[in-house]
Subunit: 283 residues, 2 copies
Amino acid sequence: MTADQGTARDLARLSINQETVKQWSLPELAEGCTALGIGSVGLWRAPVQEYGVRDAAALMREHGLAVTSLCRGGFFTASDPARRAEALADNRAAIDEAAMLGTDTLVLVSGGLSEGERDIAAARERVADAIGALVPYAAEHGVRLAIEPLHPMFASDRCVVSTLGQALDIAERFAPEHVGVVVDTYHLWWDDRAEAGIARAGGSGRIASFQVADWVTPLPEGVLLGRGQLGDGCVDLRGLRVRADEAGYRGQVEVEIFNPGLWARDGAEVLAEVADRYRRHVL
Amino acid sequence: MTADQGTARDLARLSINQETVKQWSLPELAEGCTALGIGSVGLWRAPVQEYGVRDAAALMREHGLAVTSLCRGGFFTASDPARRAEALADNRAAIDEAAMLGTDTLVLVSGGLSEGERDIAAARERVADAIGALVPYAAEHGVRLAIEPLHPMFASDRCVVSTLGQALDIAERFAPEHVGVVVDTYHLWWDDRAEAGIARAGGSGRIASFQVADWVTPLPEGVLLGRGQLGDGCVDLRGLRVRADEAGYRGQVEVEIFNPGLWARDGAEVLAEVADRYRRHVL
């Protein structure tokens, strides 16, 4: 076996979420991943729409790249009927786009509280209702809805689903082939129930996506762009990946890091560093 | 009944944590609270030490003010033996100070991970060990150790105890008169297990302190000073206070808001606003 073959085999499960190298266009992403022997990517709706969904799908196919997930649907906690209907329509469009891109996973960031709302349990129930409304359409299009619990620091303004346990409580109202969950180390590492949640999710085949990023402090203003490069923080990335494997997960490991420090650097250099860190801290 | 009597009765359970009006000296705090008919305060070690612990205790007594809690002990997650011994010594000093101030409650902010550590379960176990080492000394001095779970966004650098459930798992290794928990709405509002935790804590007489602050976004850089004035955010403050009452809690409700916007204003104006918000959103 040559070093290159070893490298390629090491990276067989690695997927690069495009936000990790946001400085790159879609063609740069496709070429950069191919050059490193990385075979899958996670995509975001806005840059894909800008490039053209069909063109993006063709570009990925030409490079032999699998699309592990599309981010994101969700933001459907509005209680106002008109805004709820708008959100559902937008989620149907996201399902269409996922199907066109050939991915079976639409990541859902559920949304926060309504203006002035103080009842987070009710908002979580609206999430379950919206998912119920979307399941038939998603199932028709071969797309699984993947509920992503976000760190509790996002509970009010971005995602009322804060733990894997909460995500599973909603997902388990539906068939596992239609609704799964996202296990993202950044959001779940602090939770002493995360391992039990991973076992529960894996046992029922509901891990739709496994994403990795590290936790570093101080958090920046707004806290959205504070994710750390793999190995720079305190998350037991390998430990959590092993737990998912033990629970029966066989899918890709998607690196999703929002970090302006990485975006300011050369994309190829960042991607090589991600691959190296993946080998050292996740594999 | 006059309006003033109504006012005084309304504020009977209100305690003002001195950090809420950090712009005030201890004498200003004592006078300001007395003027509004507020009968209790929560104090912090650093300003109390600066003023002199005995003098601070005398000042509070002269104004007829009860001290509901002293913040803070804790920060005892160091694995290095010398640093652990230092932390325990500092906690014994905090116990001495609490006893001198006449409060039976020392709030513990447990501390974060050690440099380079990726095992949060081990760090939590070191918290339990340290508390075990401190209990006899605290009990001798009539001081109860009150474990405060902090929001999970502080898990790596400030407090590895993130939920009321985790705090109770540690507290319940000891007698309830020696180790209790702090229920702070800011840290716990997002948790769907918080209500069950409050019932569990109240049922065993372990609610040592009930603190209120509201959750507002965007969070500032570092996230420490982002707490909201009561009623400005999304926390069901009254609902959580009622749950604590139902669980048998009869103690004070301490307002602890770290907010530079409040600190920039006139202290008396802020205190009057806090009292008004307390009536409208907590009482």
